[in-house]
Each structure stands twice: as structure tokens, then as C-alpha cells.
Symmetry: C2
Subunit: 328 residues, 2 copies
DNA sequence: AGCGCTTCTGCAAGCGCTTGCAACAACGTA
DNA sequence: TACGTTGTTGCAAGCGCTTGCAGAAGCGCT
């Protein structure tokens, strides 16, 4: 591997000049620039990232912590984060934590020295722990509000409210909610919202689960839901909903004639043929992008004002997957 | 951040001793070890990875290149790879290439200096390009055989053969195959196998697709398949199959009464309730593990004999999702 | 007592890059 | 002509760690 010195020799300049030619071209005369570039080309030089990291204290990496990759919500944010990071020449280190607080803490600790910042998705760590890390390396929270940290969330509760309203309007009284993982801040949030709404509107809500938000789990829960006598079901996420509907299909439960369905995100529903399904449209990719963008300004920025987090608005797509209850 | 020197001072020894205490404890006296450890603890010391990488030439990272993360096959191998890497204290850098040769090449180039090796999943790059990288950093291929590289594949064709045989045995003559992405080495392989088998056994095979291996795409292809008059359908992967079956459910097409179904992997079928589906059981996680293990020996090993790749055997689960054709 | 040996520790160089500082040239300007 | 500018370059230190080498003990042996 060619080093800076090799390039310097080849171009007939000093190593510092080469370094500057590459990182701050405006400081170098045009003619030298050309020579250096030619030498770089000829030798196929690539800066040694470790050396650069050592001197600058920057690695060019952001870590993205996600509970798992099987959930399209997470893989989507992670992929979007990677894409966004690429725009400032950075790379993303995806760490799968399994939603386990210990592994999350371990990842935070181990990676602290290797990355320029963290985007933590659905963190199970305590806010205090996150803020401690934040004191040294910028941390932004995705999909959970953490006081003191720039946080990006999605206004799913708001969207769900509209779904409840519609259900009430249609005459539903008995609604099932298939809950996501208990460790999920989002799920707790949604349930709270649900309970509150139920109290206000006279809905009776039965919670099923919690379950791992996977297709198979949705399918597994379908029978219980169908048998529970509810007339509508709200599901923690779209992947679960597909599982539920898949099994409904096998059980002969028709949507929406026998039961109305809706999901709290629409990720796995995109491009699905046939009649659309009621869902809260969730901009997962935007979440990943926004988080990385915030990290970028946090790292590159002159310091000072930390970027404001946002709660991304949702839109609800109410469709014929919601219909009046059968008995009505 | 505490440095080695800080620890050395705190423990009353030299920096080199601390370094050795951490990386080669057997070279250090027990009593010193204790003091050093205490000092490390007290100061919360963590070695600076960049500095370590600079001196040793090792970053402790393996890169795993995958086309995308939405495909559970890839996310499973990636997750397993991460897990396996953790056992030797390494981390995994997941790079999503989108199945794009340019992005794959770019990732290989950019990461070459940052990682100790590559596990390349379903690489679209030419074998020559991969081998060129391999000359500098170990590369192992996942799910594609690349001459000159340690490669791990799964014997899906062998498994599919059994499925075909069973279909013939049941009296099927007209079979559909829903193909995966055309860039996939695996899909090409499977199709070749299929054609050959068809010729031998008098099956008539109609290829649908190719499609992106996603649930929605499967659902979108379902009607066309159902209308094609075939009596059985083989699907590129399990995610697609779920999509197909999902839509079958909505279309009123019954499995297996109206049509027999089977998938070329079983990943998304795990834990699915109800009657099991015929599938070639694919050890995706083992693939990820094996690849990282090979990398590990390639890097840590005394050199010499490069680890042999393997073609992981598959088992086929033939179930009642295969039944005699309707008209038979 | 003297010797070689093993065991442990410290010294110092160096990994490849960045960057503050100083040197220098070329160029007005007073 | 002398001097301050501006623009360009090189020198050298240093980032935090690892490691070859050599020195210092401590040991058993003759």
C-alpha cells in the first residue's frame, strides 16, 4: 500500500503538501495539485483511515443501533441512514442489539472509540446512560424521545387516533390490539394512547400479545384474535398485520366483512396489490436520514445550538379494510 | 479519555507493560497484572482503536456486503456474521450494496483500508475484481462460488431436485417457477437446474418474473400464476412465497387443493403456524457464521492452507403443501 | 562465589497521517 | 529601496498504541 510519503516522493513535494492537496485543496497551488493528483492516481493511493482517525480524532463512522434487522422498520431506517451518511463521505456501522439492554450498553461502550456519533433506534438503555455517552460522542435517538438528546419520532399516536375515531364512527365497540415487544417505547406509547382513547370513546379494547413483531407471530396470533369476538383489530406493525391477514385467509376470516384491520405503520404494505389496507403512513427512511443529518451537523457544526429533534407527521390512509362491524 | 500513559502512571509501570498486560497477559507478572487491571478499571480506560489499528494493521472489523437488508436471507446471514465475529472480539460492518456492481466495487475499495476481511454475499462483481482485492485482504464469498476464493454455498439445487421428483411423482406436468432477481447467481443456478430437471422428467415449466424477492412482489405475481393453469408453483424464496400465498388467500385459491406450493428456502416460514409448507431448509445463519469463521482463520491463521469452502447440505421438508394436481 | 538461565520490565522507535509554525518567494505599496 | 502582504511549501511534532531489544532481577546450578 502506497503511503503519503510515497506519493510525496512521486510528486516531488512534501508529505504535508500531499495531505493538504487531498483534504484542503484550496491551500495548494493549482500546478502542484495537478502533480499530486497524478501521483495519487499512478500509485493508487488511498489514505490510511486508521492513521487519519488517530490524528484527527474522527473515524468517519456513525453507529446505528437497531434491535434487529428482520423488522423492515429497522432495516429501512438503517439503510436510509447508510445512504444519508454516504453523502458526507461517511459510513455507517450497523449494530444489532437484539433489543437487549446489556448488548446495547456493550455496543455503546465498545463503539464509542470507533465512531463519530450514534443513532440509537428504539433504545432500551436508560436515558441517563445515553446522556453519559452523549457527553463524549453525539447521540441522537430514533423513535423514542429522550430528554436532553436530539430525538426523532413519528407521530403514530396521532395517526392512530384517526383510526380509532373512524372505528367508533363505523360502530365498532370491541377492538383488539396486537401489541409489539414490551421493551418498545413506541409500543408503550401506543398502548397508552389506545387506552386513553378507549376510555373517551367507549371502545372496549382487548390487548393481545405482546409478540415479537414478525410475520409468523402475527399469523400465530390470528386465531386467538379471530376467536376473541372483536370486530376490528389494530396491529403494532405492518409485518405482524400481514401475518395476521395471512392466517385469516387460511382460517376463512374475511377482511373487512368479518373483521376490520389496520396497522400502525405501512412499511410492509407498500406495493401490495389488491385493496389497500388502513395504516398510518410511517416515514421510516426519513427517520434514518434525519437522525444522520442531525449527527452530521452535531459533528461538523460549529457547536453551539444542537439540532432540534422532530416528530415527523404521519398521514393516515383509511381504506375499505375498515368496515362496519358484522353484527351492526 | 484516559490513554495508555495515564494508566501506566496510575499503576506505576510503563506504558509497554500496560499494553502487554492487556493484549498478552501471560508475559506479565501476576502482581503487576492486578495493579494494571485496577488502574484500568479506575480510569475506565479503553484502548483507542485507531491507534491500535495503526500499529497492528488490524482494525478488528470484517465487512459484510449484502445486496439489501429487507430480504431475510441476507439479514439473517449478516446478523449471524455479526454474532460470529463477536466471538473473536471483532465487529462487522454491514454494507448494503443494492445489488449494484458499482456500489459493490466502491464499497470494496473504500473499506479495504478499514477492515480485516470481506464476506461478500451474492457478489455481482467479477471474479477477477474480487480476487484482486483478495490479494490484499481476505475475501470469502457467500452463496456464490468464485474460483480462487473460499466460497460457501447452499445446496439448494439438490434440495429442489427432490421437490421436483415429488411433483412428478404426484402427477404434476405443469409447474410455475417464480424467479428471483436476474443478477442473482443463485437464481441462475436454480433455473438451470430446473430446466435440466424438467427436460429429464417431462415437466413443463413456466418461468414468472424475475421479481424483487419481496412479499409484495410475490403477492403481485400470484394472480398471474394462478391464471397460468399450472398445478404447482415453486418460488425463489420464502418471502415471495408468503406473498404468493397471501394473495392466493384473497383470490380464493386454496393450497394445496388448487395448487401445490414450495419455496427454495425456509427462512420466513420458520414458526409459521398451521400446516407446514414444503421448502428446502436453508441454513442462512450457518452461512454467515462459516464465512466469518473462514475469515477469522484466514486472518489469524499462520497462513498456509486457506480454509476450504463448503457447500452446505440442505434438507427438504416435503409436506402436504404438495398434493396431486387437481385434474389428476 | 560465579555462571547461565528464565522472567519480567522499560526504552525507544515507528505505524501514516495532520497541522501549527516558520520559511520563503513574489508582489505590490509607500 | 524597504517593507508588509499574500500565497505556497516544508519541517517537525505528535496522535496512542505495539513491539524488538536490552537491561535488571531472581533463580538454581556447579
Amino acid at each position: 500500500m502506497a503511503s503519503l510519503d510515497d506519493v510525496a516522493r512521486e510528486a516531488g513535494v512534501s508529505a504535508s503538501t500531499v495531505s493538504r492537496a487531498l483534504s484542503r485543496p484550496s491551500m495548494v497551488a493549482e500546478s502542484t495539485l495537478v502533480r499530486v493528483r497524478a501521483a495519487v492516481e499512478r500509485l493508487g493511493f488511498r489514505a490510511n483511515p486508521a492513521a487519519r482517525a488517530l490524528t484527527t480524532g474522527r473515524s468517519g463512522f456513525f453507529a446505528v443501533l437497531v434491535p434487529d434487522l428482520d423488522n423492515p422498520f429497522y432495516s429501512t431506517t438503517a439503510t436510509a441512514a447508510q445512504d444519508q451518511a454516504g453523502r458526507s463521505g461517511r459510513r455507517v456501522l450497523i449494530a444489532v442489539t437484539g433489543g437487549d439492554p446489556d448488548r446495547e450498553a456493550e455496543a455503546l461502550g465498545e463503539l464509542e472509540g470507533q465512531v463519530d456519533g450514534f443513532a440509537v433506534q428504539s433504545p432500551v438503555s436508560s436515558a441517563a446512560a445515553l446522556k453519559e455517552v452523549h457527553a463524549r460522542k453525539p447521540v441522537v435517538a430514533i423513535n423514542r424521545r429522550v430528554p436532553g438528546l436530539t430525538s426523532f419520532t413519528v407521530d403514530t399516536p396521532g395517526g392512530l387516533g384517526q383510526v380509532y375515531d373512524r372505528l367508533v364512527e363505523l360502530g365498532h365497540r370491541d377492538v383488539a390490539y396486537l401489541a409489539g415487544p414490551p421493551s418498545s417505547w413506541m409500543d408503550r406509547h401506543r398502548r397508552a394512547e389506545l387506552v386513553e382513547h378507549a376510555a373517551r370513546s367507549g371502545l372496549r379494547v382487548r390487548v393481545h400479545g405482546p409478540v415479537r413483531p414478525a410475520f409468523a407471530e402475527g399469523a400465530a396470533a390470528a386465531r386467538e384474535i379471530a376467536d376473541s369476538g372483536c370486530t376490528a383489530v389494530l396491529v403494532y406493525n405492518s409485518l405482524l398485520l400481514l401475518g395476521v391477514m395471512f392466517e385469516f385467509g387460511r382460517l376463512g376470516v374475511r377482511v373487512p366483512e368479518d373483521i376490520s384491520v389496520a396497522a400502525a405503520d405501512d412499511i410492509a404494505l407498500v406495493d401490495l396489490p389488491g385493496p389497500p389496507i388502513t395504516a398510518v403512513r410511517t416515514p421510516a427512511d426519513e427517520l434514518g436520514r434525519a437522525a444522520v443529518l442531525a449527527l452530521t451537523t452535531l459533528v461538523d457544526g460549529e457547536g453551539g445550538d444542537r439540532p432540534r429533534g422532530r416528530r415527523l407527521p404521519t398521514t393516515v390512509r383509511i381504506t375499505d379494510s375498515l368496515a362496519p362491524p358484522r353484527t351492526a
